[in-house]
Symmetry: C2
Subunit: 206 residues, 2 copies
Amino acid sequence: MITLPEKTVERLCKYRRVLYNTISAGKQHIFSHELANLLQITPVQVRRDIMLIGYSGTLRKGYDIKDLISLIGNILDTPEGQKAAIIGLGNLGSSILTYFNGKRAKLSIIAAFDIDPQKTNRVFGGVQCYPVDRLEEVIKAQGIRLAILTVPANQSPDIVEVLAMSGVKGIMNFTPKALHVPDNIYLEEYDMVTSMEKVAYFIKQN
Amino acid sequence: MITLPEKTVERLCKYRRVLYNTISAGKQHIFSHELANLLQITPVQVRRDIMLIGYSGTLRKGYDIKDLISLIGNILDTPEGQKAAIIGLGNLGSSILTYFNGKRAKLSIIAAFDIDPQKTNRVFGGVQCYPVDRLEEVIKAQGIRLAILTVPANQSPDIVEVLAMSGVKGIMNFTPKALHVPDNIYLEEYDMVTSMEKVAYFIKQN
DNA sequence: AAGTGTGAACCTCTTCACAGCA
DNA sequence: TGCTGTGAAGAGGTTCACACTT
């Protein structure tokens, strides 16, 4: 499978989410304009995305929801599921942990790390918390490929280095500091302070 | 001032953040390539952004950091500061509240809302928590223009309607559900589950 | 008539390439 | 020589417009 555009991948996640709701409401087929309405986007966009993943609908009925869900699953998931770790179990870290886990069948946080000895060697939200100096060992042993960074900003560069050595392939950075990662690591910056400031800017003038 | 591209606004927030660090480290001028390094972007991008805000550097010294900070401040901030409210004080909501407040001088969360009577009429992280049915009243009285939505997904549509009536101009949506907002409201979707799935997709192969 | 599938135009953002300056 | 400022090209994403199908 050729790699899909980033924006299309994001929308596929969202399609799947609303398709689950739709199917449990008893519908079996859906038109592009219905799906578009649910996500507040245009029908053309929906059709283009579906074209990109090589699926075809039927004219009278639209798209078969079950087929679409399982096709999107093939694209987004791996059969065994993917494993993530969260590094930094402060306020934000632990609420992300509980918020996220259980939301996706094939993607879950299976390990947590912190420096605080009060937190390590305990279980939070069903997940074992290890001391940070065991990062490499645990990540390698468990085959973790995705790391969620919620440590204080000044600690992130060192940790990134260890993550890279440990075989992590993707990092979600909640730290308000631009990370320098090797080319072979996919980085997603998730900086809510910047996002808030952006919103604030765009609502400045009445 | 003509409205700036979205991506440029995001970077301006980040420029300002690192410029504060740079100036407290004793530097007074900075070259585009230095600023670019700090943010892991290209020098051309930095120069283009600075061009867009109508500032000019000098050839031998680069940009005057103080000037740049105050110019960015003029662009991003309002003199009085902007006020935000957070709606939903669950795990995620309260950690966002404490994480965010104090990070920016001209932008702060000054009110919180929840349905749970255990939480209302108390103070969290220095912020008063009101019952949701006082949304409109409080938002109007305090002149709040930005709302952060961290309620369970099924409650969001109703709340958006009230927010719109109350004069809110921008919404940050942490809810995993596409919101339908009127045209005059700026919406920022902040969906970490989708972002995680996206990262997971891009690290699938190899 | 009311859908889907898609080439082409369009828009936004980034990068190239280079003129100009101290 | 080593920087800034910027027109123009390029890349990525969205929308238009319309052919096609039942």
